[in-house]
Amino acid sequence: MELIKDGIRIDGRKKDELRDIKIEVGVLKRADGSAYVEWGMNKVYAAVYGPRELFPRFLRRSDKAVLQCKYNMASFSVDERKRPGPDRRSVEISKVTGGALEPVVLTENFPESVINVNIEVVQAEAGTRCAGITAASVALADAGIPMKDLVPACAAGKVSGEIILDLCKEEDNFGESDLPIAMIPRTGGISLLQMDGLMTGEELEEALNLAKKGCEIIYEKQKEALRKRYKGDDHD
């Protein structure tokens, strides 16, 4: 199978082109903050609760809030039914999502409490952890939790020997390498960096720069979505 032909990818995109992204804020009324992200064929909800009381008590921290992240895929989110419940993959993604968001959330404002971030993947098409982190950071901002910055996430990868942005399902499955990152645009810091597959040093650098560019586009979309929520009404 040819994944890239004359610089055009299998789904018709250019090498440095993202899939279509739509971000909505405040979609779940019961949650303190929520967001919905459609990223290509990915459909991801994020709900934030808190800060609220944490049980069991021994998990509490006297100096800061605990950020509990949970990533879950619906059993119908992929072609073949996914066995519901946490598995090795979703436990890992929950952990790295927490790690990606923790540096920006000002948890020291809420000692002895917990902030719950729930990410629910309704439909999956490669790149769900990036969509999840993107949605979760918008949902945190929507919940009114103070944070240093929003966290956009985006993947780059190597397919058929070429470095491309935002891998789709086929590219993820049959490509050589995948590199999802999450960025803190204000400082230029990176709070998530994973890779599977193999890349040379130069390729890694190239992919990293490409993924950062993708993050910047997503960052703009996040800000736009947050503003849009309150824009309908006038405010001189």
């Binding site: 409490s113 009114g144 009404d233």
Partner: protein, 221 residues
């Protein structure tokens, strides 16, 4: 230098200003630059050199001296535990309710009672105080709104709240935690709750007091 307009909606991480400003709320300094940390409305005073970002949403964070309205969730031996719409529960000791030393908490309160109280201490747990003029609220109705919008419900020097009281002929108690208690005639209560809902939805717009006055005038006649 200022990078946003006064009363603009800002998002976390947005550069507000560069230079020597005093940050009051909702922003943080990183060297010379001042960045927003919440989704809110930026208020910038160029002369007094201060920046304040009023959050549009967020949980109530207790502060000593705040009047709050809580609902009793649980009764212990000598104290009541109240839901005050915050990250922590409020604790109301019997000694902070009545002078009567032999009073028993379950004679004074029952689960579900509404209590108008004051935050007296936040070290460790959130302690409340409910001696007069604070105390149990009898009858009436409660409404919960976002705590960040309470200043708009009260208005400048209580302008908004006195308008609501005047037109609806209701008693209105406002808790800083976003809980508001109203009591009056049925129609008056309906109207007051409606007005508060409008304030909640449109708190970030200007000219709100006039609009609420107009709304209440129309309904009352």
């Amino acid at each position: 230098m200022i990078h946003v307009k006064n009363r603009d909606i800002v998002v976390p991480g947005e550069l507000i200003a560069t230079g020597n400003f005093h940050v009051q709320l909702g922003a943080e300094k990183d060297g010379e630059n001042i960045y927003s940390t919440v989704v809110g409305i930026a208020y910038i005073d160029q002369e007094k050199k201060y920046i304040k970002i009023v959050p549009l949403r967020g949980k109530y964070m207790p502060r000593v001296g705040d009047p709050v309205i809580g609902v009793i969730e649980e009764l212990a031996l000598k104290k009541a535990i109240l839901d005050i719409n915050s990250a922590h529960k409020g604790i109301l000791d019997i000694r902070d309710v009545t002078m009567n030393r032999s009073a028993e908490i379950n004679k004074v309160f029952s689960v579900g009672d509404m209590v108008y109280s004051k935050v007296s201490d936040i070290s460790g747990s959130v302690s409340l105080y409910a001696k007069p003029p604070y105390g149990k609220l009898h009858g009436g109705r409660l409404i919960n709104i976002s705590s960040t919008k309470i200043p708009r419900v009260i208005g400048k020097k209580g302008s908004m709240i006195s308008i609501i009281k005047k037109y609806t002929e209701c008693k209105v108690y406002v808790g800083q935690n976003g809980t508001i208690w109203v009591k009056g005639k049925n129609e008056g209560e309906d109207l007051a709750l409606k007005a508060i809902e409008i304030i909640d939805a449109e708190s970030h717009t200007s000219g709100l007091t006039e609009r609420i006055t107009k709304f209440l005038e129309e309904k009352v006649i």
